[in-house]
Subunit: 191 residues, 2 copies
DNA sequence: TTGACAAGTGGAGCACTGCTCCGATTATAC
DNA sequence: GTATAATCGGAGCAGTGCTCCACTTGTCAA
């Protein structure tokens, strides 16, 4: 890559990081270009779609989360490991619209983000399987359920500050819902 | 109201219903005006904000849901009543972006939608309280938790058709998470 | 050191958006 | 039939995503 191209690439990424953090995933790309002191053409040359830009911003973190999941696979308590990973996942909210972007990549195989978080999803899938094998999580839960619900909690947190403050609590409810249940609806009534 | 104004009001609402169902809450208002065969000025005269338009589209349904909640207050099994209401709530997905719009109204007291669904939220709050009094739902859950989680499930369903197909299932997990828990994390490990 | 030239740049331009404004129109009351 | 206030419609403004291409510039062989 030519040296000026490399410089611009870095400038764009840096500008995008700031602006996306402030305005969310729907930030104006013109604003990004402006802040990077670069033309629209240059921005689109380096990042042909908005998603490509977001993917580059997120890639490192996805890899780190995948690694974290891999490390937790050997933890003593599989359920606690799963819970820890989910908390870690949710603790990092770089911008509004992340949850939505992540859900969109599930069905869009072409998307840059799809490939980028595939490894992460696989790794957390193994965490889930371990928790199920140990009998701590309901067997009918699959990793799509898990991913959808944790993103749902993330989405709620994006909606308002007072909801973000409840994130831990909501995740707790969801985790309890995924955990193996001793009672069914009928026996619950008898308590 | 002048007769031509009344006619245009109805035309706009009818057009909005169709277009919002197709394009979601972010539908182009120009499209709505075009379909209603009305100028932009006319549309904005009747509905000064996009929210005002959505609110009018939703109002009837909110009232019906509030009534349904009120009716369920005398049900025999409070938990089943709550579950039934939540299922009813989720069964009606008039357009993409509804969940987000509803969450936004929570913090925005000025919004037309805020007033419009206040009664509904109060009614379902009473359903929740009954289920808690009967010991079927954890006492620490409040109606904001409930509203947030049910909207989160609704949001997930908006993201992809195969996720919409899991709506019942996801709601089930969430409901089990809100239900009174017999076991804590330690005892779960022993099973 | 100097061209040659591909690689890279930047911004004008198009079609769209939300929203405002105001001259033209029209339903209605007298 | 006319006065007039209510209503209408679309031009216009500032913004958006994205494309296109004339121009500039870094690189490298001569």
């Amino acid at each position: 890559m030519r040296s000026d191209a490399e410089r611009n690439y870095a400038r764009i990424l840096s500008a995008a990081k700031t602006i996306v953090a402030k305005q969310g995933a729907q930030a104006s790309l013109r604003d990004v270009a402006r802040r990077a002191e670069v033309g629209m053409g240059t921005l689109y040359r380096h990042f042909p779609t908005r998603e490509a830009l977001l993917e580059t911003l997120l890639r490192d973190r996805f890899e780190a989360l995948a690694a974290k999941a891999a490390a937790l696979e050997s933890a003593r308590d599989p359920f606690a490991a799963l819970a820890e990973w989910l908390r870690e996942f949710l603790s990092w909210t770089p911008f509004r619209g992340l949850a939505s972007a992540l859900m969109a990549t599930l069905s869009d195989q072409e998307s840059a983000l799809h490939a980028s978080c595939h490894a992460m999803r696989q790794a957390v899938g193994r965490l889930l399987a371990r928790a199920q094998e140990s009998g701590q999580v309901r067997p009918e839960v699959d990793s799509l359920d898990l991913f959808a619900l944790v993103n749902a909690v993330g989405w709620v947190s994006e909606q308002a500050p007072d909801l973000a403050a409840r994130q831990e609590r909501l995740l707790g409810f969801v985790l309890d819902g995924l955990a193996s249940q001793q009672d069914d609806a009928d026996s619950r009534e008898c308590r």
